[in-house]
Amino acid sequence: MPPRRAFCLLASAVILLSGCSKPRVDSVEFPDDASRAVLGTIQTGDSLRVSVYVDGTVSMAGFLSGGTSHYVDFLDDLESTVQNSIRRAEVRYFKFGRTVRELDRGGFRGAREPAFYAERGISEVTQIDSVIQCPAGAHVAVVVTDLFQDEGDVQAVVGRIKDRCFGRGAAVGVLAVPSQFDGMVYDARVPAYRYASSAERASYRPFYALLFGAPEHVERLHQALRAQPYVEQGHFTLVSPYVVREFDVQLAKSKDSRHLNRRDEKRPRHFRFDVRKGGDGGTLTADVTVRLKPSAPDYRPERVELVAFRREGAADSARTEDVTLRSVRRSGEVLNATLELRAPDQPGSYAYRVSLVTGPLDGFASPAWVRTLSSPNPTATDGPNKTLNLERFVSDLRRAASSVHAPELARWYMDVRKL
């Protein structure tokens, strides 16, 4: 055969062979919103409005303790703390009890006097649900109270918070400040009793600052308040749609998944796999590192759930059972999860968005400080300085928040080609 003809034949064969390779189907992808979905909004701007609601009922008078107490310090320092930490801060004051009334600065300073807590028409009843609000924008409501509530109150308050706050994506911070106390303790399951703390810190009785607002602003205000020495880091819990500070995901296939091949990752948290002909999927192992926010309660690994959405082509995504969670084990900050992938029968490209979410019902453990400060029945002789139903309140809050939006621990994406 003449060399020239042979060469032309070879060139034709090459072009044909190369053209026979299967055309790559355009991959469909989810937009990468993992950071926003798991971590929430980080930036806050340099202005903040703070509305302070002081409980003016008679049960709060004991916190004055003769005029020198952490409660008095907290009220004195509140405005300066906020002004020093936030460039443009605006603070307004209110008094609440049976009703709500706005105070000027002079009226607010009156909270250091016993007469503040004896005003007729306010001091008789703590209607805390009247001041529950989660203002939009850069605005945080701070409710200073002793948070003493029976079961009915807890339910009503939590329900109100769920409707007005969690339903809008807002967060609640519960800050406990142990303070000197010398006065009457009301609203317990027993008749009112007298209690006076000693010099021992363990004898102090806590009052609470409930912070309501957008998660990033609540955290920011808490950071500002932490500047005071009597505000302890460990006595704050954040009930928020966002509990994670940072996370990382490493995904691999198990050795016995012979019909599943890994492909190179194009971007962090975007994993690609091929399901070869004759197979329908395989087993994946995920090592998920989760670093919680310091103020978030710890999650229960046994309650972690997996939520997956699938998208194919230009269609909207839909929840899918193609990816399921077989087991999960925790070792410190790392969650080791075993997943099953079952791709659809039809060959094609499929995009998955996979999230590990905390259990909606019992996904978090009560912080230790909450258990320490709480009592189901404080009396003059048994836990006199503890708070009635605090643990119930905090756990109900967390459950209510999770029922609206269960916080995610991690999110990643998978592109799967079924060959």
Partner: protein
């Protein structure tokens, strides 16, 4: 004209490049979809496969060019028996090269789980780029003094 330098060198290089492209992209695409991989990603496997194909092609081209160089010298026309020994030795060397390349891939991929069929396809590609390519190129483009030495040429 095809048998004269530099045409034969250029045509051989071009043919080798085309063949590599067909086997690296065409057959590579097929292998990427069918081989089972335990540790490596598909892209890592294909990268390794294409590099090995590239190395054997370079060695095969070097062998072809050496043959053309030898065949264009006056001594080749005078000592055809010696030239035939060189060509046969080169052909067998290319066979050894294909086997060594295959064994290299077998060792590097032993943890992956490739089947006998997968390795047979890879060996077919290595063969096409080594002794088959050497034979075909020298058959079609050897210098006139040694054009009848390659097997099958009369």
């Amino acid at each position: 004209m095809v048998r004269t330098a530099p045409i034969n060198y250029l045509l051989t290089a071009a043919a080798g490049g085309l063949l590599w492209t067909a086997l690296a992209v065409g057959l590579g695409g097929y292998l990427g979809d069918v081989v089972p991989l335990q540790e490596r990603t598909t892209e890592e496997f294909l990268g390794l496969y294409r590099i090995v194909l590239g190395v054997v092609l370079v060695l095969a081209l070097a062998n072809c060019f050496y043959w053309y160089f030898l065949g264009s010298r006056r001594q080749a026309a005078v000592n055809l028996r010696g030239a035939r020994r060189v060509w046969m030795g080169s052909l067998l060397g290319q066979v050894v090269l294909s086997v060594v390349a295959l064994l290299t891939l077998v060792l590097l991929l032993q943890a992956e789980g490739l089947t006998l069929g997968n390795f047979a396809a890879i060996f077919a590609a290595l063969s096409l780029l080594t002794y088959v390519f050497f034979w075909a190129a020298t058959l079609l483009a050897s210098p006139p003094a040694v054009e009848f030495i390659p097997l099958g040429k009369r």
